[in-house]
Symmetry: C2
Subunit: 415 residues, 2 copies
């Protein structure tokens, strides 16, 4: 990492397009400081409850209870939805693939670089492949070292009782000569999301993770098959959201999540870093920032009050926030502790967001247009009045949603 | 296996519904006799070419050539599409998971059987879960021992030069106390299928296999999470098609493939066997048998002439056909040898089939209705006249199909 001021000036152009406000005091995030990592070493987040929360993803340790949405069937589906991601994570024993380390589940590719034309042609090839290999949306950003962890964290080398010795390594996992970051996204199923809060609704994240894992691993293999380097990353390596915004897939929002025009924030991002030069996409604006300024549905609905009610600021609530970024800042400690208290993940902020729609119909698209105009307060009123973001019970999901349906059929997609 | 006559009488009811014609001389298929297994031990199918064909799925051994559709990019995508299936296959070293053995990539489930209601309620639970975990369509059949291999085959214990000693085991892999077989299907992407014959189009199978693997493993994990036994099977354990027909997902066709109302034969089936009692679905008829009687598009288009032009018969062309089944019988030797000569799989019979449509529009559904009436010859004429099943070039797929599309968006499915 070169001098911060120099770096900042290098990135001024893209920051103007994304609207990122990055101070002189910006410091790259250290992976050990995310809430999940901290729960293994930081007394503030380390607890028996946190341990139980993670353990509950393996069935014998799930603790189903009586409340609707937290029963045996709900945990059984949630954990099955996570199963592919969990299995792939354990492909290399001792590594947290896709969670704290990039994936290594690759075959040998081609030994020399194959000619794939201009960076524009290469981008088309890669996007075609990405969609076919399972991504719902795809965008490309230039490699940006700011969004690579300053230090990485190794949970697997953390020894019992070693909470004061945090295992980190200085070098990022991926080589510095990467040129592009391909951002892929998987929609999280709406029907499961509607049952938030519940263990059942965790299946929505699990399916997102499992699909993401498959998609990014396959796309990285495709690029390796062309003789280039490619690294498939999920939660590891660096934060996803800045890349999703820079790749033109989404806008940053009050909840701290990125909002896509296709699925709102009901989406999971994954990335493939490569040295295959690819023409980057332009960031998009469709009115999310201005809409979030007048809407507080996520912050009002957050049980632990972890989401900013105020204007964007550079305040670092705790070490889980990046230093030197002016933005709506969430309190990851409060958020994570609420997850642990529920014994499952929470996505209330995703469910209640007015952009949590399907956009495969004219009314939703008309609403999105309205929300992007000066009539955004009208859009908010329309959303209040006509679009139900209220939760559904798990019983609805299991019994009523498809009641009487003998067989099912997806729409035929990806022609 | 009990006395054949007794067994046959037990299954008379379901055979009447499916239209299966099963003789007194029926013998369960031996896995060693499928064309893939035979290519490892039977001089008739064993060749350097066959070896190259299998090797080409790993990139360093692919032999891209100049012809459109067989170039480097095409093999790169095909092999990336197969990557998840290939990786999962190798999860347990030495086993051909999903290809010759059932999958074992499972976490510990629940230790005792959880109450899930009547077999009808359990079927609804399982179908809900199957669709959410990635299946495009799902159906349930009762366990039927006829469609479990009489003997299984172990490629990994076949020693070099041991072609006369075929490693088999007498016992089927799955326990006999299974009660149900859940049949899941994944659509194979139409756009890739349109480029048949080509290496590129093999990506269509690869994506089907990779999705299938994920779906059946996840569903089996869900059932295990409820405390029941569940075995995830792809090509192993027994033939898929009879189960797909018995589960009401498809009708048997001239090409030897099963035709679904949703995707025609452009679909891959996978199965989960379980001892969780599930109410079986009823077989369906929507006119495929009668339509195939007047249509010979698949048999006329098959380069090695491997598909029956005549009426269904009990003739066993070679050991790769099941003894005692009256049906349209394909010549697996000719089919497999053609694949090897092309250095990639072939799906011409899928591409040219008049049922190879999307059925997400009224015209296709109207055509399907017409094909199921006495006016089926008119439907065939309409198909000839208006529906292009002619191949597209790989260049179309890479350059024209999505030309100018900056980002992509799937339809929002599985709400």
């Amino acid at each position: 990492m070169t001098n911060q001021n120099e770096t900042n000036s290098n990135f001024r152009a893209i920051d103007e397009e994304t609207g990122f406000v990055i101070g002189e005091d910006f410091v790259r995030f250290e992976q050990k400081n995310d809430a999940f990592s901290r729960s293994t070493w930081d007394e503030e987040l380390k607890s028996k409850r946190a341990e139980n929360f993670f353990q509950a993803y393996l069935m014998p340790n799930a603790k189903p209870r009586k409340g609707e949405g937290y029963q045996h069937l709900d945990y059984a589906l949630r954990n099955a939805a996570w199963h592919m991601a969990t299995s792939l994570r354990q492909f290399s024993p001792g590594r947290g693939e896709g969670f704290q380390d990039m994936f290594t589940i690759h075959e040998q590719g081609w030994s020399e670089k194959v000619e794939v034309g201009s960076s524009e042609e290469a981008a088309k090839v890669v996007k075609n492949a990405a969609i076919m290999l399972g991504a719902d949306i795809v965008g490309i950003a230039d490699y940006d070292e700011r969004w690579v962890y300053k230090t990485t964290f190794r949970r697997q080398t953390l020894k019992p009782g070693q909470s004061n010795t945090i295992p980190t390594q200085t070098e990022p996992e991926i080589p510095e000569h990467m040129t592009s970051c391909i951002v892929l996204a998987s929609e999280m199923p709406l029907s499961l999301n509607r049952t938030v809060p519940s263990a059942l609704s965790g299946g929505s994240s699990g399916i997102g993770y499992s699909r993401d894992a498959s998609t990014c691993i396959s796309l990285a293999q495709f690029i390796r098959n062309l003789g280039y380097e490619a690294y498939a990353c999920m939660n590891d390596t660096g934060p996803s959201i800045p890349y999703a915004v820079q790749a033109g897939l989404a806008e940053y929002s009050r909840s701290g999540l990125a909002i896509t025009p296709e699925f709102g924030s009901r989406v999971r991002f994954t990335r493939v870093f490569t040295n295959l030069p690819l023409k980057a996409d332009k960031p998009i604006q469709f009115g999310v920032k201005e809409f979030c300024e007048v809407c507080r549905k996520c912050s009002d609905s957050c049980p632990p009050q972890a989401i900013a009610k105020e204007a964007p600021s550079a305040e670092q609530i705790n070490v889980s926030n990046t230093q030197g970024l002016t933005k709506w800042t969430t309190n990851a400690e409060k958020c994570f502790k609420f997850w642990c208290s529920q014994n499952t993940e929470c996505s209330i902020c995703i469910r209640v967001c007015p952009y949590n729609r399907t956009f495969n119909n004219r009314l939703d698209r008309a609403w999105r247009w309205l929300a992007g105009t000066r009539l955004r307060r009208l859009a908010l009123w329309v959303d209040d009045k006509f679009n139900s973001h209220t939760g559904k019970k798990a019983g609805w999901w299991w019994n009523e949603r498809n009641a009487g349906v003998k067989r099912y059929s997806s729409l035929s997609i990806k022609k």
